[in-house]
């Protein structure tokens, strides 16, 4: 599983365009959280992708005119090592569906907020 953070202008359809880039490739997105972030919006996506898809998705998202920034994908187990974020998980951040398997330990766990 990889986590993506995308900053975007919250104009009509921009979030849908971001999600469609994954849908058109048949990639499931078990966790999505969109929220205001300063003067823009930010969406966090969790998805199972290979390295080629990471590149393709990032470039597709950059091509959306109202996307401002795409954070490179981070494998979830790498993120989990960053303890601050890991603590956020255990402190009751929103949970994804139970099918979200985190890379690294194979256990079904909640994903990142």
């Amino acid at each position: 599983m990889h986590v993506f953070h995308i900053r975007y202008r919250n104009t009509q359809g921009t979030l849908m365009r971001i999600l469609t880039a994954a849908c058109r490739r048949g990639i499931d997105t078990p966790y999505v959280q969109a929220e205001p972030s300063a003067h823009e919006h930010k969406v966090t996506l969790l998805m199972e992708v290979n390295q080629k898809q990471v590149g393709q998705l990032s470039r597709d998202w950059y091509a959306i005119v109202d996307v401002l920034e795409v954070d490179p994908a981070i494998a979830v187990h790498e993120v989990a090592e960053r303890t601050r974020v890991a603590r956020a998980i255990s402190s009751g951040a929103p949970h994804p569906p139970g099918s979200a398997v985190l890379a690294g330990d194979g256990a079904t766990q909640p994903a990142l907020a």
Binding site: R9, Q12, M16, R59, Y62, V65
Partner: protein, 564 residues
């Protein structure tokens, strides 16, 4: 006070629009009501798909944004194929659709369709207008995105009540785009890296795509290619970007590309790509595409990088800036001698064989026709075998002289697109080359051609089949010609007459004579010189095939050739 419909038209005028293509209907009636006296000429096609393809044809040769208008519901859904086509082929297009009244949106009202949602994945940008006050800003932003960067389609959906509403209007507005990291151009150091890569390469090649033409940097590109002097080829949309008479030019590359181009691309150790997407029709099997090559990709659209294979050097930005920068660096650099490679790649050992087999008369017919065209003519090809034959035989250096639906491959494109081309260039000879399948997908546009008196020359290569599909059935499905037989076609000459267009027929037998008989040559000359709409049916052998051919999933080196 101005009505919303008047504001739309005034904003279009401010964007330089004086011609739109469309088809009226309920929700967009207020916009049609305001057309008279607006300074915007409307071309009525006979189907919304005809309107959007015509707008595309106009945009492709005029270098301006094409505009298509349609009503809500079925009017809007009929635009969809053209919108997808514009996305694939990077055509600047703005589609304005009427929508049901604001209060009815979401109620499944009569002729209501979610055109915004429907076109979300195939538009570069789109808006459902929510208030009359938004109209000027939405139109300004829509046109900006349609024409900027990699051009593409935009949809602006306007509820009918907003077109009828009124407000004080202070004039069109300008749109200022926001800056973002993705817009960062290539760092100037790329030229050092690229020169170093060139100096290490022994078999460099250049591949030219539509992006080179869209950048408007054709003279700069040609100067650069002269300096590089490496084997060079073009995608179907890159045809005309390179002067076909230069000795290093090898023609079209890809599934039906030339033997020399495909072989050189397979063997290269340094591939320089200038504005091409590298889609599957160009690469063949991606895992065996240019297996020994490092790839340098000049590109304006970040989404096109690394689609097939990772490139070693991405040169992001407008080719109008990056090509001259590279050329400037090359002036100071010494390049290794690659004359031996050039001699092999461009040498007579890989020259194209003379046309032979069942397709020979059709190819000769196209050669005869093209050789009689005035300079700067525009050929508009539909989709199928005739498209590939026409692309293979196109040897002009006119950058906007060959128009086709290359990415989407939308049959029915050519006839309405030719309408747009002819309106953009009234004095130019416009030759529409279609097939017996494709012509029937938008044959109603003969009425548009007749109404406007456009001197478009329409050629139908009639093989009584959906020829390209039949070719694949022959080669890969054991000749199971499932549902590709069109032998019950109507008489196209009689159809033309019904539209009050002169029709005539040439049988392929006359093309077996060499040279062609004087009367056949005269017939072709009269056809091309006429200032009236003309239609010519060429009876082609039903089992003529397009060669060379790289089978789907094969490497470019695995071309099939016509059997003896």
């Amino acid at each position: 006070m101005r009505k919303g419909s008047q504001i739309v038209l005034e904003c279009l005028r401010a964007e330089g629009v004086d011609l739109v293509f469309g088809y009226p209907g309920g929700a967009i009636m207020p916009l049609y009501d305001a057309l008279e006296g607006s300074g915007v000429r409307h071309i009525l096609t006979r189907h919304e798909q005809g309107a959007v393809f015509a707008a595309e044809g106009y945009a492709r040769v005029a270098g301006k944004v094409g505009v298509a208008m349609a009503t809500s519901g079925p009017g809007a859904t009929n635009l969809v194929t053209g919108i997808a086509d514009a996305k694939m082929d990077s055509v600047p297009l703005v589609c304005i659709t009427g929508q049901v009244r604001s209060a009815l949106i979401g109620s499944d009202a009569f002729q209501e369709t979610d055109v915004f949602g429907l076109t979300l994945s195939m538009t570069k940008w789109s808006r459902l207008v929510k208030s009359i006050q938004e109209i000027p800003a939405v139109i300004a932003e829509g046109f900006h995105w349609a024409r900027s960067g990699r051009p593409g389609p935009v949809v602006i959906d306007i509820p009918t009540d907003l077109l009828k509403a009124s407000m004080e209007f202070g004039g069109a507005v300008k749109f200022t785009p926001h800056q973002r990291p993705a817009d960062t151009p290539a760092a100037p150091e790329f030229t050092d890296t690229l020169v170093a890569m060139l100096q290490q390469a022994s078999k460099p090649v250049a591949l030219v795509g539509a992006g080179a033409k869209l950048s408007g940097a054709i003279p700069e590109l040609r100067q650069l290619l002269d300096r590089l002097n490496v084997p060079t080829f073009a995608t179907v949309h890159g045809l005309g970007a390179v002067d076909p008479t230069v000795p290093y030019y090898l023609g079209m590359v890809g599934m039906h590309g030339t033997r020399a181009a495909n072989t050189a691309l397979h063997e290269t150790d340094l591939l320089m790509v200038f504005g091409a997407r590298l889609d599957d029709r160009v690469t063949g099997d991606p895992s065996r595409f240019a297996p020994d090559a490092k790839i340098v990709h000049f590109e304006i659209d970040p989404a096109q990088l690394d689609r097939v294979r990772p490139c070693q050097l991405a040169v992001m930005g407008d080719l109008a800036e990056t090509i001259p920068a590279f050329h400037e660096e090359l002036r100071r650099a010494s390049l290794p001698d690659c004359s031996r490679w050039r001699a092999v790649a461009c040498g007579p050992g890989r020259a194209e064989l003379d046309p032979r087999g069942l397709a020979q008369p059709t190819i000769r017919f196209l050669d005869e026709l093209f050789s009689r065209l005035p300079e700067d003519s525009v050929i508009v090809a539909d989709v199928g075998q005739h498209q590939m034959w026409a692309a293979q035989r196109y040897h002009s250096d006119s950058a906007r002289g060959f128009i086709t639906s290359g990415g989407l491959g939308a049959m029915g494109f050519a006839l309405p697109a030719a309408v747009g081309v002819q309106l953009a260039q009234p004095e130019t000879t416009v030759l529409c080359v279609s097939g017996d399948g494709g012509i029937q997908m938008n044959i109603q546009e003969l009425a548009t051609i007749r109404r406007l008196g456009l001197p478009i020359k329409t050629v139908i290569i009639d093989n009584q089949y959906l020829g390209m599909v039949r070719q694949w059935q022959q080669l890969f499905y054991q000749r199971n010609y499932a549902e590709t037989d069109l032998s019950d076609n109507p008489d196209f000459v009689e159809i033309a007459k019904a539209y009050r267009i002169t029709g005539q027929r040439i049988h392929e037998e006359v093309m077996r004579e060499f040279p062609v008989a004087a009367e056949t040559g005269d017939q072709l000359d009269r056809f091309l010189r006429s200032r009236e709409p003309e239609l010519l049916v060429f009876d082609c052998h039903p089992e003529a095939n397009v060669y060379p051919m790289v089978p789907a999933g094969a490497a470019l080196s695995e071309m099939l050739f016509e059997e003896e």
